[in-house]
Every structure is written in C-alpha cells, then in structure tokens.
C-alpha cells in the first residue's frame, strides 16, 4: 500500500515537472510580437501578458501549455508561445517544447519551427480551427506529420481564443483575409474589383478649370488598389517586391497603389518641395489621410500580366497610426485646381470609391462568448479529424470487415486454393499501398509506450482519438488480440509486414533460395525482439523522447509513413532489413520487431484457438512446421502463438487431402476402396504430388 502510494507520488512529481515550462526569453517575446513597445507580466486566468504598442493595448502573448495545458499525440505536452492581436491575428509563434513521437526524427526542427512560424498572420477567429489539409491561411501541414501539425494548430487557436474570450469579450469587426499569393492578370484584377477605376474626360471639368477648346478627350484615367492582400499586391508589384515591402511594415500597416494615364497628373509637383501631395488624399469614413513623400515610392511599371503602361504609378504606405482600416470602404479624392492665382482659385474634387471585394474580407464575428462553442469550429479536434477523414475511416472499416469475414469463415476459406494463392496477397497489397502508404495506418511500438504512460498518468481518450486510423486499428487489434492472438495484426494489417511478405513472395517466384535456420538457433533469436521492447520500455520510463529516438529500430516510419523519403542512413537500414527478408521471410518480424513483442505478451490471454491440429502433428508429420512461413510451429507440432502471424497457411494444409498425411492416407484408402468396388483403376496422375515428410 505504502509502496504503491510512493510510486504514485513519484509519478505525479514527474508529471508536474514535465508541465513546468521555463519563462519566455526576451528573444522569444520579440519574435512573437514584433511591434510590442511594452509587455506586461504573465498574469490572470487564463495567464497571458498584455502587449502595448504606442501606448495602446495591441494584444497578448501567451503560452499554449499555460493556457490550455496543450498536449500532443498521446498526451505529451506541447508548448507554443504565441502573440495574438486583439483582433485575433497571430503576430508570431515559437515552438518551445514538444515530444511529438512522429516529429522527433526525420522532420527537422527547422521544418517544425517553419511550420509554427507560418502560423503568423492567421486569424484565430476565422471559423475553422484546424484543417489538416492546410488552407484557411494556415501553413500546410508537415508531410508525414499531419496529425501533429493539426494538434499544434488546434492548440494555438484554442489557447488564443481562450485568452481573447476572457480578456476582450467584444465583437470583432471584419478583418483582412490572409490568403496566400495566387497569380492573377490585370484583366482579372479589374474584373473582380481588386483594382478600381475613375475615368474623367475634359467634359467632366467645368470652367474656369476647363481649358478653352478642350474636346472630350481623356482628362485622367485613374486606378487604385489595396496592395496589402498578396493576391492583389503580389500581382501588381510582383511577389518579391510585395514581400519586401510588407516584411518591413508592421501589422496594421497597409499600402495602396495609385496609377493613372491622361492629361492631368495626380502627383503634381508640390510634393517634391513641400513633402506632401496636394492633389490626392485618402478619405475613409470621417478620417482624412494626407499622402506624404515619406510614405511614397514611385513605381516604374506594374508586374501583373496585361497591365497597361501608365504615365504615373505610385505606391503609398498607410501606417497604422492613420487609422486606415483595409476592409472598410475608402476613397481617393482627386483635387483639380488651377494655379494659385486670384482669379481662378476654383477647385473641383472627384472621388474614386474603393470597396474591397468580399473575397478579401473575413466577415465580422459577433461577441466571442456567444458564437464560440456553437459552430463546428469549436468541436474538439478529434471530432474534426474524424469528420475530415471520414472516407479513409470508411475504407478502413470495410477492410476490417473483410478481414473479420476471413477469420470467421476461415475453415471454409482455407479449402479454396485461390484464397491461399492470390486472395491473401491481394489483401496484403491493399494493406501496404492503401492503408500504409496512403492512409497512414501503420501502428508503432511508440503508441504502446505512450498508452502505458497515459495509464500511469492522466488518461484521456481525446489524446488517442485524434488520429482516427490509428485509433480504429488499435481498437481492432485489442479485440483480435483477445480472440485470436497477435497474429491477426502482424499477419494481416501491418503494412511493413505486408511489404516484407510481398517482396519475399516475389523473390521466391524469381527463384531466390530461402535460408532456413536450425530451429534451435531460430528459437533463441526470437528473444531479441523482447529485449528490444523491454529496452524501449525502460527508456520510456526515463523520457518518452529517448524512447522515441530508440524506436527508430522500427523501420515503419521510413518505409511506410515517410515512403522512403528520408536521410540515407534510415533508408539504408530499411533496405538491409528488406534484403534479409528476401532470404528469410519476415526477418524483421521474427527477430526484431518490438511491436510484435509487445503484442505477443498479452496474446497469451487469447480466448479462441481456431488453428486446428491433429494428434499426428509433430509426431508423425512435420509438413506444417517445415512450411510455416515464419517457423512458428515447433517441431513438436504445437503452434507458438507468440510467433504465429495467423496467415492460415497451415490450415490450408490441414484440409488438403493431397498434403496432410492422415487425409492423404484416408483419401487413398477411399480411392482404393472405390477402385476395388468398381474393379477399375481410376488411372492418371494424382492432383497433387505427394511429398515425403521432409520436403
């Protein structure tokens, strides 16, 4: 009792220690909120530091681990330090801590930081929280780690919302949509109203401003556009210039383009002397925004395909201090006036109204507490992943249904030669190509270890539900383990097992000789996998991260999850294992696989023993033990459930009266009796050559 309690206290202490995240460094703070003038302390519930820019509250810095205790796959802590503006825009993100099993090797820390850094600019108040396919302004998920990517996105969105909800329970206005660059030509930009136009002829100008004798020729053909969205600015300025301009601007700064042809110059000359443009200004609502030389850059030509040549092109930055809001309508006022002389100081003002198309706007959200929690956007991450992967789930369920059918009707199926020859190989091909390479359904010993740790610590279904394929597979494995042993998974559902078996089948067909180890040697080599598993388990008690590194002994990640797109040492290792598998079928499964070892231990509990044997097995006949593809049948005749992969090969022999000696004897007896009865020899060759006991 006291011993148990001690263990529990130690375990709790380890867990608590795991949750302590060091305070954020100054570099991290600057990284996640570049515009911050002043950063408060981390206080409140949920904890966050308020950030000020120019003396006003601009947003918050928070740690996802502190706010929501964010955990990754299997319940290990993930901490992302993020800055979020009061409007919900992520101003920066730094991954500070993670133990994502899948991420530790193969995906570099740079990839991961790049992915997390890519969250910058995403608005957490937009409906979808996490989309494992990318989109919504979220960076694309890391290949081979989509679930972990989704977990991180989800943690960021959820934590930022929790802080915004607690601190700023006010309605948020519409915001600029952060869609990535997409190529668009001038005609399209004009057609979608990304570029808007005001065309004046001399007839629009009234005396005394109108020169005498002026006809109806062009006075000014004026174009304006908001440059901030990459889909507009990136096309007009070119992506490089656009990135350059905006990388030097802060959040909340915007830029516009003004371009014109015709008689009248919108630039005029005064700005060179006085520093301000005297013919144009921006008006938004009741705000008047003057345009000065400091924020002006002359543009030689527009980069969008099909853009006309312009007499004048200008780019203006509208700094945040102007109060310019890119999603609200604005107008460019063009002042037409004569020279500054007493008799003709009349002025005409024309306005180019610019309304940003809806495609570039994220609509206003209502007060946070009201809407959040209603929509699907607040559904737990695992519900979203199940929803998004529903077709894969359906495919997997279909596959498992077929497999269950095979198991239930095994006695009937083993009588069909075609089942033995092609049915199983076809099933394995589907498992390898679809389940393994396409749908990401490869189990790993790491999941066993994380599960064990979760049982020791704080067990929550959500941690395991997040990847539906893995969850369903484990559920199925748990049931089949109790019914038939570990062989159902290893022999039928493991994609790497399927890869080995298919390659070995091909090798045999090509006449590659098979190596058969003496049973005594073979039996002793079995132990290796158990040692590997125990070593991993021991390492995981230290840290799961160490175990994760050691678990690279499993070739699954290289061969299946990452489809061999990995650093050469890993690929070399897998190729070596597969090469050995050409001579010794399922070499890895037999001697090395820690997952197989982990499954073999509880497989002792199996309830059914449907693999049938005769009393002659092992004593009179060695056919099965000789032909067993993984040498799981002892020379003494019994099938070792720890090693059996449930391929049903021996069961096909069991019912084959041309192979199984007792059946062969019985058939011959029957045939002889028939022949005697009819007095005729049935003649011809037997259907299957009878083989001696030691083939």
């Amino acid at each position: 009792m006291t011993f148990l309690r001690t263990i529990r206290i130690v375990a709790a202490a380890i867990l608590v220690a795991g949750f302590i995240v060091p305070p954020a460094s100054a570099d991290d703070l600057a990284e996640v909120f570049p515009d911050a003038d002043k950063i408060g302390t981390f206080t409140g519930n949920p904890p966050a530091a308020t950030v000020f820019t120019n003396g006003t509250k601009a947003g918050y810095i928070l740690s996802t681990a502190d706010v929501i205790g964010s955990t990754g796959y299997g319940g290990e802590i993930i901490d992302v330090l993020i800055g979020v503006s009061t409007k919900g825009d992520i101003t920066g993100a730094v991954l500070r801590r993670h133990n994502e099993p899948i991420l530790v090797i193969g995906i570099s820390d740079q990839d991961l930081q790049k992915f997390v850094g890519g969250l910058k600019g995403f608005n957490v108040l937009t409906p979808a929280t996490a989309d494992i396919k990318g989109g919504n302004g979220m960076p694309d998920a890391i290949a081979g780690a989509t679930i972990s990517s989704a977990v991180i996105q989800d943690a960021v969105v959820r934590a930022a919302r929790a802080v915004l909800r607690a601190r700023a329970p006010v309605a948020t206005g519409p915001t600029l949509r952060h869609d990535p660059y997409k190529k668009s030509d001038w005609g399209n930009l004009v057609a979608v109203d990304a570029v808007q136009n005001l065309r004046l002829t001399f007839t629009d100008i009234t005396p005394p401003l109108r020169p005498e004798g002026a006809g109806d020729s062009l006075y000014i053909d004026l174009y304006a556009a908001l440059l901030t969205p990459p889909r507009i600015g990136g096309n007009l300025l070119g992506t490089r210039d656009h990135q350059q301009v905006f990388s030097s601007l802060g959040a909340g700064d915007n830029a516009i383009m003004v371009a014109a042809n015709g008689y009248y110059s919108f630039k005029g000359r005064a700005y060179r002397k006085t520093g301000n443009f005297e013919r144009i200004q921006i008006v938004q609502g009741s705000k008047t925004i003057p345009l000065g030389r400091a924020d002006y850059v002359n543009v030689e030509r527009l980069k969008a395909d099909g853009a006309p040549e312009f007499r004048e092109i200008a780019r203006f930055v509208l700094p945040r201090e102007t109060g310019f809001d890119p999603v609200l309508p604005w107008r460019l006022d063009l002042f037409v006036s004569a020279r500054d002389d007493a008799a003709s100081s009349a002025t005409q003002v024309f306005s180019l109204d610019y309304v940003l198309p809806d495609a570039f706007i994220v609509p206003a959200t209502q007060a946070l507490p009201d809407t959040i929690g209603e929509g699907r956007s607040e559904a737990p991450l695992w519900q979203q992943t199940w929803e998004q992967r529903r077709y894969r789930i359906a495919g997997l369920l279909a596959l498992l249904t077929i497999l269950t059918g095979i198991l239930v009707f095994q006695d009937q199926l083993v009588r069909y030669r075609r089942f033995r020859d092609t049915g199983r190989l076809a099933f394995l091909a589907v498992v390898l190509v679809w389940l393994g390479w396409h749908a990401g359904g490869q189990l790993s010993v790491l999941q066993v270890l994380t599960f064990a740790h979760a049982l020791l610590g704080e067990f929550r279904w959500e941690h395991f539900l997040v990847d539906p394929m893995i969850f369903i597979l484990w559920g199925y494995v748990a049931v089949t383990l109790l019914f038939w042993g570990r062989g159902v998974y290893c022999g039928w559902l493991c994609p790497f097992g399927a890869l080995q078996e298919l390659m070995n089948a091909a090798a045999r067909r090509l006449g590659v000789p098979q190596l058969k180890l003496p049973f005594a040697v073979h039996e002793r080599l079995w132990a290796i996998k158990y040692i590997i598993f125990l070593g991993l388990f021991a390492a995981s008690l230290h840290t799961i991260r160490e175990a994760t590194l050691l678990a690279e002994v499993e070739p699954f990640k290289t061969a299946i999850t990452m489809t061999f797109i990995r650093n050469w040492p890993f690929v070399l290792y897998v190729v070596a294992l597969l090469g050995a598998g050409l001579f010794i079928e399922r070499f890895f499964c037999r001697y090395l696989c820690p997952l197989g070892a982990a499954l073999a231990i509880p497989a002792r509990l199996r309830m059914f023993n449907w693999l049938r044997r005769r009393h002659q097995c092992g004593s009179e006949c060695q056919i099965c033990s000789e032909r067993c593809t993984v040498q799981a049948i002892h020379p003494t005749g019994e099938i070792n459930p720890n090693e059996c992969i449930y391929c049903l090969e021996c069961q096909t022999y069991y019912v084959d009266d041309h192979i199984c000696p007792p059946l062969v004897a019985r058939r011959k007896k029957r045939e002889r009796r028939l022949a005697l009865a009819s007095g005729q020899d049935i003649g011809g060759q037997p259907d299957s050559p009878e083989r001696p006991n030691n083939a």
Binding site: K273, T274, G275, E278, S286, T288, F335, A342, T347
Partner: protein, 314 residues
C-alpha cells in the same frame, strides 16, 4: 430672444437636404417615394436631412454617407472642435500637411478677399475673440471694445498674414482663421457633389446655405423662402443669406458677428442679404462680402463671379 453669450454660435439654422433620386433610380413614380429624415447637429447647429426615396435601405445608406462626410468636414473646419484642423492651425500657427480641403478653401478664401478688396476675410477671427471677450466681461456695455484694442487687432488681419505653400499653411503670429463665412457653403457643395456621384440628380440641400440640382419632383425649379417672406426659384445654383442681426453678442448692444475687416467695426448698412451663385461656397462668401461692402461696390464684385447675383436686400 437672443442668447446672452457670444459662443457658441447663436444663429439658428436648419440644415435640410431634400433630395430625390433620378427616375432611373426610383423604384416607381414620385408618389411612391417616401421621406426619410434625420435630425441631429452639424457645424454646431441643428441639422435636418430629408431624402425622398422609395427604398428605405438606399435612403438610409445615403443619409449615413452624408452624415459621415459632414462629420469629416467638421473635423477640418469647425472652430467648436479643439481637434479640428483649423483649431490646430490657429493654436500652432502652422500646419505642414493640412487636409486638402483646408488648403484649397484657404486659397479660395484669400482669392475672394482680394476680389472683394478685403470685405470678406478669413483672418477676422481675432476680432471675434476681441468682441466676444469684451462683451463677456462687460455684458451691459453698448459701446464695444476700446479703439486701441481694435487697431492693434486689425494688424493681425489681412490676406498677407497667411501663406499657403503646397499643403502647408502658415499664419503670422497672432493671426487666426475662421471659415464660418464660407465653410457652410463649401460643405454644402461637397455634399452635393457626393450625393450626385451616388446617383441623386434632383436635389435641394440646406446645410447652412442652399444648393439646388435639377428640379422639384413636380418638375418645376426649387422654391426657396427668404427672410422677409420673399420667395425665389433656384435651379442648378446656390443661394446664401447673411443676417447681421442673427448673431448679436448681447441683447443690449447692436454689435453682431459680421465685422468689416478693414475697420474692425461691425458692418452697418443692410440687415439681411441673399446671393445666388454657381456654387454655395462663393455664394456664402459673397453674401458676407456684400453685407460689408458699400452697395456701390456690389456690381463690380459680382462681375468676378460668373452667374452670381443679388436676390434681395433689406
């Protein structure tokens, strides 16, 4: 009964915009158009905007547009707002990047000052302060400020005290501007242009001064009632009225807000005067100028403004 204090402005105005959309915009015949009204304040006075349109949403959008634009122009020209561009200019004596409306209207005002030989002048604000301060201290006085003070203040007044260069405006030390004699007209013009650009063609606007576009829904020119019961027709033109008696500093003294910049004294002559001109800013400034200038000068001044004429004088 006139207000006892000189500020805020005591002259009561009703700002009215009566506008009907063009036939193309109308959902049906004129009868189906409903009146949509907004009351509030604009430029420190009671404001009234009435729009005639069948569609409530369209009318509502236009009203919102007008209100926002009035607010924006107030934030430039209003002396009652400490944060307006004019107030800041008066406080600091200099604006580097003035709103273009202020730049252009200052230029226009200075031009009109020259054309009217100083009868209209935006630099008279120090006189207002002098008179206002005097009557606040001596509410029962009927004489007005001492002559020495008036002479000293007059030195701050005149078009040469203002320099406009590009978008920069600089005032001589002590000089202050007031656009109260022209900004209402200017705003009327800007609002007119704004709602015309949004498809309204038959419009009568009253934001201090009248401006008429097109015709009354009945097809006749717009009819404007003037002080003294006179009526005049207005079509594609603007009308402005100056009433010296409208804003007096105290009930006891005859002193009012229309100063003669050249003498520093309150103008005498007529009590009310209306001017029609091609735009409301000119009409507004001319009504002030002709109120102050001797009648013999009127024709000469009007000749500088094509289409401008006097409609009543009382």
């Amino acid at each position: 009964m006139p207000d006892q204090s000189p500020t805020p402005i005591t002259r009561r105005r009703v700002l009215t915009i009566l506008a009907g959309a063009s036939a193309a915009l109308m959902a049906g015949p004129a009868q189906s158009a409903r009146l949509h009204e907004w009351r509030g304040t604009a430029l420190g006075a009671e404001a009234r905007i009435v729009l005639a349109h069948a569609d409530r949403t369209v009318a509502g959008q236009t009203l919102a547009l007008i209100r926002t634009e009035i607010e924006r122009l107030e934030s430039i020209f209003s002396l009652y707002r400490a944060d307006s561009a004019v107030s800041m200019l008066n406080r600091t004596g200099r604006l580097r990047a003035a709103p273009l409306e202020l730049v252009h209207l200052t230029r226009r005002a200075l031009a009109i000052t020259r054309l009217t030989d100083g009868a209209f002048d935006v630099t008279v604000q120090p006189l207002w302060d002098l008179y206002g301060g005097h009557f606040r201290k001596h509410p029962s006085d009927t004489v007005g400020p001492p002559e020495a003070a008036i002479v000293a203040t007059r030195k701050l007044i005149g078009p040469d005290m203002v320099r406009v260069s590009g978008t920069g405006i600089q005032l001589a030390p002590g000089t202050q501007l007031t656009f109260n004699g022209i900004a209402q007209g200017y705003i009327t013009d800007r609002i007119t242009a704004l709602i015309r650009a949004h498809g309204w063609h038959d419009v009568l606007i009253n934001i201090g001064e009248y401006r008429a576009l097109g015709t009354h829904p009945d097809g006749r020119p717009w009819k404007i009632g003037l002080p003294g019961g006179v009526k005049t027709l207005l079509s594609d033109a603007a009308l402005a009225t100056s009433e010296g008696t409208a804003t007096r500093f105290t009930a006891a003294a005859p002193h009012h807000h229309l100063f003669d910049p050249r003498t520093g004294l309150c103008a005498s002559g007529c009590s009310t005067l209306s001017i029609v001109a091609s735009n409301a800013a000119d009409a507004d400034a001319l009504s002030t100028a002709l109120f102050i200038a001797p009648p013999s000068e009127h024709q000469r001044i009007l000749s500088f403004f094509p289409g401008a004429h006097r409609v009543s004088i009382g």
